[in-house]
Each structure stands twice: as structure tokens, then as C-alpha cells.
Amino acid sequence: MSEKKVILRAENLTKRYGDKEVLKNASFSVREGELKILIGPSGGGKSTLLQCINFLVRPEAGRVWLDGREVLYHRKRELYAYRQKVGMIFQDFNLFDHLTAVGNVEIALIHVRGMDREEARARASAELERVGLREHMEKYPAQLSGGQKQRVSIARALAMDPVVMLLDEPTSALDPELISEVLSVIRDLRANGMTMIMSTHQIGFAGEMADEILFMEDGVIVETGSPKKLFNQAECQRTREFFLKIVEIYGESR
């Protein structure tokens, strides 16, 4: 089988807050249809890395390529166009509180992509149906459970037809019994060939689904490899310690 093409590539992303370097020369690339999973202790820089990728956080240095083209993020137009192609899922959902589920999904279709309202409504409904929220379309965020909110946010991102998705601990804010409904949506995305980078503490899910795991600590991507390799024979001492501990805490459960 021939190698799939690289969808997203980042090189030497660096971010400082004050004189603290929270992201140090992070580089990686994702190929079409791959799921890369970021794992590492809290404060290790996972969110910063993900937000630097679509420039919600401005890196001090580093370059990003999408589909082989460098993202010239200092040009506003280009930045906005790029962000449309990169879906982002946040730990605490970040739904728009004043809009219903379907309103959340269609608003960017209307005001960013310039779709007419009817078409946007149809597309938004279809996306919500796809994540199993057909009956909840007219509900406001406050009327939805955490798992439902996260699925709305996934539908909202998917409606923009992204070529890659960034998921920042999508299940960390959820009650345990709601985690699986979100993970199963992500599993479906993977099965349909969506390219994704996701940070998570769900070690079981990572082991089962990831093409590659990136272990991240203190702003550095310490080690990269297949789940099997990182779980069982990591090269780096820190990686081994971390995986021992996380398996203890989060178990092998999904």
C-alpha cells in the first residue's frame, strides 16, 4: 500500500508565556485518515500545541502546512479560510449559549460560508442526525447533557467540511457514563476516514484507535510511536513511568 499524503505538518512550533516556554520546537505531521493521539500530564502543553496549530494561540516561532501549502497566518483572509478547514473540539464544548443545537451548527455556515438559511438548516440538521441528536435540535445548550453538548460541537465542526480535526480532551469534562457516546462518534469519524489529532487521557481508546501516540511533557514531544511500542517498550524512561501511572489511574477501560 502506498503512503497516504500528508494533510497537516507543523514544524518547530514554539510558544512562550512570559519567560516560560510552554511549547518547545514541536514538530509532527499527520497523514490522510490518521488519528494521532497526544498524551501527557496536565500542563504539558497539549492544549497549547493544538491551539497553535490553528493559531488560536499565536506561536512565537514555527510553521504549519496544510495539504502541502504553508499557512500564511499573518494574512487574515488566509487565516480565516484555513481555520474553516481545521475543525476544533474543546474540552468544555464552547457551544454558543444563545443558540439552539441546530443554531450552533448552522451559524458558521450562514455567516462564514455564506450559505443561505434553508440550505444551512438542512445541512445542520443532517450533521446533528449523524451524531444522533435528531430529537434535540431545538434545545439550548443549557438543556443538553455534557455528552450531547460535545456531540453538537462535533456536528458544528463537521458542518464546515474540515480536512482535519483537532480534539482537545473531548471527554475530560464528561461524567463517566457519557464518555462512550462521544468516543463512539469519534470512532465513526475515524472509520469514515477523518484525519484527526486528539489529546486525551482515555488510554484504552488511544491504545485501540491511535495510529500513533505522541507523548508530551513540559512542552516537548518526548516520544512518538505506535500504541504498542509506547505502552510496552517505550525508549524513554519518563514515557514508561507515565504510562504505568496512567494505566493505574484510568485503567484499560474505554
Partner: protein
């Protein structure tokens, strides 16, 4: 009986005329004030440093100067540099700018209360800053600011009575003329006061209705 005739023949027509002038002062001032308030509030939170400073300065000035002084400046002061306004126009300008300064405070507070995460989400979907403000931030901020802005409009109804100080003869002005012609100060001003009470109550009721209409389940005000 005589009293009633007096009210019917002399007071009512004059006050009615005054009331119409008051309404013509209040409605546009409230509308312009709100527009200015939203605009300035947004600049104060999302503007570049220069615009933010400018907007802060505007608010400091127009909240700091007594309103009567502002009226005097617009009407008596500006002619000295060759700018002339009719009493009515000078009043509307003064009221709008003063009201706008206060509205901007409420809008600013409401803007600052919108969760940052929602703005990140909007940006991640490709919203430009202006579109994000227009479609994500303001619809929420305006709802949150509504009680404060409503209060400001009720104040405006009352301070519109200052217009007579620069000879824009509205409700209070008419009341003062009749009262000094007839010496029935108590009766006339009781009626004038009652009319303002009706106006402010109507405004309060309308604002309440509006708040109820735009209420969203679970959305904290």
C-alpha cells in the same frame, strides 16, 4: 368644578403639546444612545489601544460633566465657534451622547462576561473578529445588558425634562409656563409628575416584555 375646567381648558392642551415634544426627544435619544452605547462598548473591549483610549475618554467626559452643563455647551457654547443647533437638536445630541456613555458601561460589562471559550470556538470556525462580535458576542451581551440599559432609558425619560433649560419647551417646560401664569404650582406639577410616572411605567413594562421575549432557557442574566 372650576378646578376641572381649568385643567380641561388650560392645562391639558398645553401639557399634551409638551408631552409630544418630550416623546420626540426621548424616542430618538434612546435609540441613538443605544446605538452609540453598543458601538462604544465594543470599541472599549475589542478596539485597538488607541480607539479604546478614545472611547474611555468619551465615557469619562460625558459621564463626568453634569447634563445641564452639556446642554448649555451644545446650545449656548457652540455658537461661539459658529455651530448653531436648534434647542430640539441640541437636546437630542446631548441626551444621546450622555445616554450612550452610560449604555456603553452596561454593554462593556456584559461583553466582558461572555466566556472566552465561545470566542475561541467562533474563531476556530473561521469567523473574523467583526463577525464574531456581531453574531456570537453581541447577541449574548445585549441580553445581559438589557436590565441596565433599560434602567438608563428610564432615567433618560426623566432627565429629558432638562431640555426646557435651553428653551426646548417639552412637558416640564409647558408645566412651568402654566404654573407661573396661574400660580397653581402644586396642581400643575403633580399632573406633570404623574405623566412622567405613566411614561416610565410604560417603558418599564415594555422593557420587561422585551426581556421576557428574548429570554433563553438557562441563559444567565
Amino acid at each position: 368644578m372650576e378646578e376641572l375646567f381649568f385643567i380641561q381648558n388650560d392645562v391639558a392642551p398645553a401639557l399634551w403639546k409638551g408631552l409630544l415634544v418630550s416623546i420626540r426627544l426621548i424616542v430618538p435619544s434612546a435609540a441613538f444612545g443605544l446605538v452609540i452605547g453598543v458601538f462604544v462598548g465594543v470599541l472599549r473591549v475589542f478596539g485597538n489601544p488607541f480607539l479604546t483610549r478614545l472611547a474611555d475618554l468619551y465615557v469619562a467626559l460625558f459621564r463626568g460633566f453634569p447634563l445641564v452643563v452639556q446642554l448649555f455647551i451644545w446650545y449656548f457654547g457652540l455658537p461661539h465657534i459658529g455651530i448653531y443647533f436648534t434647542p430640539y437638536v441640541a437636546s437630542v445630541i446631548a441626551f444621546s451622547l450622555c445616554s450612550g456613555a452610560y449604555h456603553s458601561e452596561y454593554i462593556r460589562g456584559a461583553l466582558l462576561s461572555i466566556k472566552r471559550g465561545q470566542m475561541l470556538a467562533a474563531k476556530s470556525l473561521g469567523f473574523s473578529k467583526i463577525r464574531m462580535i456581531r453574531h456570537v458576542v453581541l447577541p449574548q451581551a445585549v441580553r445581559r445588558a438589557l436590565p441596565g440599559c433599560g434602567n438608563e432609558i428610564i432615567y433618560l425619560i426623566k432627565y429629558s425634562s432638562l431640555a426646557y433649560m435651553i428653551t426646548c419647551i417639552e412637558l416640564t417646560g409647558q408645566g412651568k409656563i402654566i404654573a407661573s401664569e396661574t400660580f397653581k404650582y402644586t396642581e400643575v406639577f403633580m399632573i406633570v409628575g404623574a405623566v412622567y410616572l405613566v411614561l416610565t411605567s410604560a417603558a418599564a413594562w415594555g422593557l420587561h416584555r422585551l426581556e421576557a421575549r428574548v429570554r433563553i432557557p438557562g441563559f444567565q442574566h
